[in-house]
Structure formats: structure tokens, C-alpha cells
Subunit: 348 residues, 2 copies
Amino acid sequence: MGLAGIKDVADRAGLSIATVSRALSGKANVSAKSRQLAKAAADELGFVPSYHASSLASGRNHNVGLVVPSIHRWYFSSVVEGVSGTLLDAGYDLTLYNVGDRPERRHSVLNDFLLRKRLDAVIAVALVLSETEINQLLAIHRPIVGIGGALAGASTIRIDDARLARTATEHLLGLGHTRIAHITGEAELNQDFKLPGIRRAGFEAAMQAAGRAIRPEWVVSADFTIQGAYASARHLLASAAGRPTAVFAASDEMAIGAILAARDFGLRVPQDLSVIGMDGHELGEVFGLTTINQDARGQGALAARMLLETLDAGAKRPDKGTPPSAAATDREYPTEFLVRNSTAVPST
Amino acid sequence: MGLAGIKDVADRAGLSIATVSRALSGKANVSAKSRQLAKAAADELGFVPSYHASSLASGRNHNVGLVVPSIHRWYFSSVVEGVSGTLLDAGYDLTLYNVGDRPERRHSVLNDFLLRKRLDAVIAVALVLSETEINQLLAIHRPIVGIGGALAGASTIRIDDARLARTATEHLLGLGHTRIAHITGEAELNQDFKLPGIRRAGFEAAMQAAGRAIRPEWVVSADFTIQGAYASARHLLASAAGRPTAVFAASDEMAIGAILAARDFGLRVPQDLSVIGMDGHELGEVFGLTTINQDARGQGALAARMLLETLDAGAKRPDKGTPPSAAATDREYPTEFLVRNSTAVPST
DNA sequence: ATACCTACTGGAAGCGTTTCCATTTCATGA
DNA sequence: TCATGAAATGGAAACGCTTCCAGTAGGTAT
């Protein structure tokens, strides 16, 4: 089988190449009869248009790049699922760039891949791109959407991490807690991904506003995983003497780690220790975790939809036209405060 | 900036297009001087070759497709990380097809995407492709590697699930357990992904070989998540009367769900209930989970390396040559029995 | 019947590379 | 000095589509 080309289809259908192309891609100015003829011939030959030839000729790729710092953690895999589903349904390919913890990869991804005119658009998750980098992308007319990270000049979907962290802390304060600890992200995670610092700032703001001291030894850090936070929380909770009565963890995974550590010490949650998280991890339900639910998957889906919209709008020859979405929108994604039973009034 | 093309580079360097192309792609038969000239000119102009034009002309895509049924579960995200890292380092793109639980997507992915000549190779994770589907891919000279699923005719990386499940069960039997329960995967997961059934068969084989009865009510199913297994295990452990003394879960995530459920009932692990899992989930350490460690990430990396190798071997114009890797290898990936402290001699 | 407009159609020019092939250059040994 | 082959070079033909543009048919109004 010599992989039928459009020429073969045209011959078989008794039409010209041009007409077949129009017919198969659903363009106007094709008679119903021709269209049907073309489709039938294409089916019979099992014709599938060559992606590269079509992209080269039309300038459209039907391919969106997704840049993530990791794929293992709940937040990222949720976003990927959301993006992936939406894109697949729209007939778009998803090219995944998992830049991981290696910064040199990040550079090569931006240069060697993203700029290679092979992507129609880019979704960057929790990645802080420099203005130069953003401009580079915009210069070649590639719309960008950032999720969970501030992208100057590009459209963004995010939640107000500072405010929500503050809300979470205030929930604990409101219950009467004064001895509140915080589990934040590790320093290196703060590099491309300022989130831990922002949530921590929210925590500190709430504490200060309430006139509560922040004990440095009660601010510990972990790597955003359950097991990492478990280890950190064990240190935090080790000595009965200087033990907090509540913990605000910067993610649900870390909150769960704290709950597990607490259980190991025979501490009951919430009677002996209140724990509040942030994210909306599915596993939170098992632990009755009080948290602020953000629909990461939904955020991914929304980002994809936004991109598809601007792509459809700017249709034909994106290289040429004016930059799509001159207006960079900054949407705040809705969240939900989910009170379950990992937080309560302190027993003392 | 009009996005410099190779023509511009050639003009600037005072060379022909052909020589520039050879120089930049590191081909032979280019003088050192010309090569340097070309590189300098390319740098100055910020030239990046057009992916589509280059693929169209050369027939090589530098793009590997990865088909997964999900991205959220530990096993899959681990594999994706492994594949992703290896591919990125080799300068390949990764196109992710998350077919999810919707079978219609699977079909469209195979037809509309994979066959569109845009992929050099395909890695299918835990997906059972029909022989027709495999032949379709092989017919257009696209090497396939399957991970964790049997792909007749294609290369495969897998672990011997049946034997390992048997080993896990034998570990419990060897400790003296007779009342052994099994948490398997749900029926619908068994469709494209026979794994739950295979592990279950291993369990049954071990039990039968030991002359132990399998109590149907002690074989429960869950969706491979912690929370799902937690719910199932609660049912399993609810009545003190007919309670097993050991549980073999078909995945670490489900084993952890069982441990959490046991704790809720005040059962101590391993004194009151032994739990063994399978996979090597990072979280297993926190729970002291005895398991069989399979390096999912390593499997992904290996699959990518295998593919890259055959691609490099078959170099130039893969469309034309003989099918790469006529020899479909079926490798068994090494595993490690990890005895921690979630299993012990039954206390009765 | 003629003019005119519209809906279709097909030829052919790109899209931006890679690579074949013929040609030129250059070093080497006789 | 000249033949000889290897190394380097450039022209031009693909690669397989999309789309512009000119042209053809077929219908309507005059």
C-alpha cells in the first residue's frame, strides 16, 4: 500500500486535487455531489492527509504545547488531564514539555521546540516566563495562556493564592487557634513557581492581622508530596512541649502528610490538631480534610478552550494576521471553601 | 522580523541553500569553514528551521506519540515522566494521547492522529491494541513499543504480573495466613487493560496451589485509587466475624487505601491485618508497605530509548526502508520484592 | 436570445526544507 | 606538469498539501 495521497483520491473521485482538498476540509464552494464523491473516494482509499504537508501549506498546526514543571504532582496531572481532553475533542494534538527540575531543559524547550513554528499556541503551567520569552512567542503570533503563574503580558488563569491562603489561615484563627504552623514549599520549588511563597505570604498576613506571632520553627517546608510533608510534620510535631494546635499546609498532599504524621504520634485530628489544606485533592475526602477546592482539571480545560477560541477567531494563516487576543485577560478561577472535619475548635 | 528562512541564512553566509542545510544539520561533506559560516549566519538571524518543512522533506518527525489510558494514576504518570525526560534530552517531541475512559477517543486517536504520518513511533501504555491496529502502524513503518500490555507483534516491556502476583500471595501464605483477601481492579478497567485480571489470576493460582479456598466475598474491586480502595476495604473489613487476616491489593495505591480503612477500624497493621501491595509507589514508604517494586519511570525511559535506537538505526526516510526492528522483543523489566513492615505472621 | 451574475471547478504557484546529482575544487602521487 | 579521485558545492527536484486565480457551467433577469 503506497499510502494514498490526495492525488489518488482526486483520480478516483474524478475530481481535481483542489476540489478534493476543499471537500475534505469542509470548505465552502463545493457542490454536495462533489463533496460526497470525494469523501467516498477518501474512505475507500483510507486516505489520511499528511499533517506536515497540510501544516506547511496552511500555516496551521492543530497542535498546542503544554509546558509543565512536573507531571507527578496532583495539580499538574489534573491540569494535563483537563487540557488533554479538551484538545483531543477539538482534534488538536497536545505536545507535552515536562521541563522538570532541570532548568537547562527549560531553555532548550523554549528555543528548540516552542519557537520552531510547530505549535499554534502554548499553555504554561506554574511557570514564570520572562517578558522576553513571552514577547518572543507573541512575536511569532503564538497565543499563550498561563495557568497558576503570573505571565506579564499573556492571558492567565489563576486563583488568588494570597487571598485564599489568608482565608484558610483565618479559618483556623476564627476557630480560636493561636498556635498555628505552616507547611510551605521548598525553596527550589519557588524558583519558577512562586506559589509556595505567595501562599506563605497569605498565611503571614493573616497571622499578623490577627496579632499572632509566627514562630519560625513552626514554618517548615516540604516538596509538595505526602511523603515529604509527612517527614517534615514529624519534626514539627515531635515534641509535645512546643506543639502547634493547627497546621495550614500549602497543599492538600502536604496536609495529608501532616495528618498521617499526627496519627503516628497518637494525635487525633481535629481534636488534638486541626489541619487545613488547599487544592481539592480527591484523596482529601478520605481524610475529611478541610480545604479550599480549586478545580485544576477545569482550569486546564478552560485554558484549552480559551486558546481554541482565539485560534478559531484568528483562523487562516496565523503567521500573517494581527496577533490574536491583543487583550490579555487575567481570569480568576472560582474556588470553593470546603469545610470537612479536619478542623475544629482547639481542645485546650 | 520576517522569520528568517534558510534562504536568508544562505545569502548572509554567502553559501548555497544546500550547503547551509547540510552544515546546520551536521551532515558530512561540508568544510569546516562553511559550517562555521553557516552557523554564524544562522545565529545572527535567529534562524530556526521550520519543523513542518523539514519533516515533509525528510520524512522524519522527531516526534513520538505516547498513548495512555490516564495520567492521574501513579503508574501512568511515572511512565510519562520517564518517557518525557528521555525524549526531551534526545531532542524529540512527545505527543500525548490521553485516551481516558472514553473508548471512542481511542479510535479517533488511532485513526486521525497516529496514522497521520506525523509520528515516528508510538509507545502504548497498558493498552491492548488489536492485531489489525498494530499491523496498520507497522505497515507505515512506525515502530511501536508497548508497556505493561501485551501487544502481539510489537516490542514490549513488561513485568510478569501473573508470577509476581503469585509471589506476593505466596509471601502471605508463607507467613501462615490462610484468610487472604484480594483487592482487584474494576471490570471496566479490565477492558483495554487486562492487568487486574492477570494479577488476580496470579492470586488465585497461588491460593489454589496452597490448597486455600478463595472466598468470593473477599475478592473486592476498586478503581486503583487510594480513595476507591479505601471504600471497598471498609466493606471488606466491616464485620469482625468474617474478616481476613491479610490483604493482597493489586496496586500500592489500593493497598494504602486498605491500610487506611484498617486503621479506621482500629486494626493494627501488620498485627491484626497484613497488607501487601504491588508497584513501588513512593508513598508506600510512609506506610511501611511491603510490595513488589517496579520502576515505572525506568520502564518509560527504557521504552523511549529502545525507540530512539531503532529510529536512529533506520535513519533516513523511514517511509521507504524496511520496517525497523523486524524482531519484536519482549523484555521483562526487573522488579524487586520489598519487604517492609505491613506484613507479618498472623497473630491468631 | 443575450447579458450577467453566481456557484463550482481545476491549474498551478507556493509553503520551507532535504537530498539527489552533476559539477567544481583541491590535494595527492606519478 | 598532469591525471585522478575525494571532498565540497550549488541547482533543482521532490515532499504532499492549501489556496489564489482564472475560467466554466448553469441559472436568472432583461
